[in-house]
């Protein structure tokens, strides 16, 4: 087991700043997810840890060792590439043991480890095939096998599930998480899919434009988003964000007459956040909205509505029936309410 430490690591591509002095530490044996929208620097971070690129400034440590200038092979890690990077002319078995052959591991040891890994991943009947004769999910497992057989303390994964269909993705998510826990690997996992992040991570590092937006457990990011960006990125669908405006000594929802149950003073505007699943339809609720459409998902429905200029989603159990244009009111528990500063986007507590 190894920990990973980044200290003010920056990466510049010419003039462009892909990473802007980010720092974080990971616990040994933990599952860390790098999450963020496209182009925010997730792959860059991973490649810097792997040693496939070198940082423009800052240090990277693995355990106690400074690895900033070490070649990839000497960092004690394995990696699963987004494209799998399987060798097309080698059989599944040869792909998996490639690294062992390079390091001249004895035949007996090689066979033993291969049997173990193929058992673990259910690849036993595919060993003689070429990668092109495998399905996407099978290829992914071969890539995983190549990473696991090395028995390195750290495993890096760059969006390994992005090419798979929803069903397989769900299965693989559970498999990877279970393997990571069983083998106590330190995992750094890149994704832009917040569901993957929420379901797998011990800790999520949310990136935005080359900076760290928030670090925390999935619970923390969900329950206490530090900014409107986090609020709008975590959760499916994400949190409703409704701007408020001054009304006498209190607040009202921008563009409406409904008063908001908020008694906080602020010179700037405020944004009120409530999750769709925390809203309840309630005829005496403080929030009045106009229904736009209803999306039926099976177990629940998402009612899309408008409050002044803002869009609102309400999660309703079973199949909800509303005409477009219908007026609804909603309420929420006080502890489900989030307030953000309109200008800075930062969370306001109290």
């Amino acid at each position: 087991m190894s920990s990973i430490h980044l200290e003010s690591v920056a990466k510049l591509w010419g003039e462009a700043r892909a990473l802007d002095a980010i720092s974080f530490d990971t616990e040994p044996g933990s599952f860390v997810v790098l999450l963020g929208p496209s182009g925010c620097g997730k792959s860059t971070t991973l490649r810097l840890i792997a040693g496939l690129d070198t940082p423009s400034s800052g240090r990277i440590r693995i355990g106690e060792k400074d690895v900033t200038n070490l070649p990839p092979a000497e960092r004690g890690l394995s990696m699963v590439f987004q494209s799998y990077a399987l060798f097309p002319h080698l059989s599944v078995a040869e792909n998996i043991v490639f690294g062992l052959r390079v390091r001249k591991v004895s035949t007996a040891e090689r066979e033993r480890r291969l049997a173990r890994v193929t058992d673990l991943l259910g690849l036993g009947h595919l060993l003689e095939r070429r990668p092109s004769q495998l399905s996407g999910g099978q290829q992914q497992r071969v890539a995983l096998g190549r990473a696991l057989i090395a028995e390195q303390p750290i495993c890096l994964m760059d969006e390994p599930l992005s090419n798979l269909d929803a069903q397989l993705r769900g299965d693989m998510r559970r498999e990877i998480r279970a393997l990571q826990q069983r083998l106590a690997i330190t995992m750094v996992y890149v994704t832009h899919d917040q569901v993957e992040a929420m379901t797998m991570a011990d800790r999520i590092i949310l990136l935005r434009e080359g900076r760290i937006e928030q670090v925390g457990t999935p619970d923390e990011l969900y329950e206490k988003p530090r900014t409107t960006f986090t609020a709008s990125f975590i959760g499916a669908p994400p949190m409703n964000l409704i701007p408020l405006e001054h009304a006498g000594d209190g607040w009202r929802f921008a563009g409406t007459d409904s008063r908001a149950p908020v008694n906080v003073t602020s010179a700037d505007g405020l944004v009120l956040g409530v999750r769709p699943e925390d809203l309840v339809l309630d005829d005496r609720g403080p929030l009045a909205a106009t229904v736009v459409s209803v999306e039926f998902h099976g177990a629940d429905s998402l009612v899309a509505a408008r409050v002044g200029e803002a869009n609102l989603l309400i999660r309703v159990p079973r199949h909800a029936h509303f005409e477009a244009g219908a007026r609804v009111r909603a309420s929420w528990a006080a502890h489900h309410q989030h307030l953000f500063d309109a200008r800075s986007g930062l969370r306001r507590d109290g």
């Binding site: 792997a50 496939l52 070649p71 990839p72 092979a73 000497e74 890690l77 394995s78 990696m79 590439f81 494209s83 990077a85 060798f87 097309p88 002319h89 490639f98 690294g99 390079v102 390091r103 070429r130 092109s132 190549r146 090395a150």
Partner: protein
Amino acid sequence: MRNGAVTGWLLLLPAAALLVLFTHWPIVGSVWDSFYSTPKGSRPPVFIGLDNYQAMVADEVFWKSLWNNLWFALGTIPVSIALALAMALWVNSTMRGRTWLRMAFFTPTVLPMIAVANIWLFFYTPQYGLLEKLTTALGFGTHNWLGSESTALACVIVVAIWKEAGFFMIFYLAALQSIPPSLSEAAALEGASRGYYLRRIVLPLLMPTTLFILVNAVINAVRMVDHIIVMTKGGPNNATSLLLFHVYQVGFSFWDTGYAAALTVVLLVVLAVAALGQFVFLDKKVHYQ
């Protein structure tokens, strides 16, 4: 369904017509002519069976050309392929000025054959040629490179290598660029050295390209004629006479068209066997998809 087949054949027709007219029909014609005597003045060709082929067995120049061609092929093919690969690996790396380098390596291919031959003719010229200047400056004696039987063929081989390597490099370069960079990164993560990666990953992935180049190189070696005509005219004493040059001489210098047709048929058989053998025996080993 039937309609689709008709359309398909119609679409193939223009290309097929050209192929038949300029490739297949002349082949059939050559085979036909090789069984007839050469028409002379008012005497029309008569059927003589295998006489032309019997003459070939006794034709010393033919055997000499065949051997020369074999040495020529053995001399040019491995070296030009190895050079092409080395150059492609070099210009595929990320370094400054590689565009310039690629162009430089490719230049011999775009130059007209005749111009190329003339440039090299100047290199090899006795007394004031570039090569002579070099060897005399280094204190070696003078030597008529193209004029002596022992070195003429080697000189022609060098020119062919110089000309072919750049052309083959383009194919290797294209193949190298279709190898995803993540493969080399994955290998690097596993601790594979550059040499190991080259041997175990790159070379096997280049095998289909190598086969293609090999077939082309063999064909080029057997149909080499223009350099010979410009540089040596087959001399001295047939030391650089290659198969196609011999055909050319027999057909268009001596106007013995019947015998030339028989020689052409042998040339075609040699080529067909070589190409077929390469595709049948190597094909299974080089494709992965």
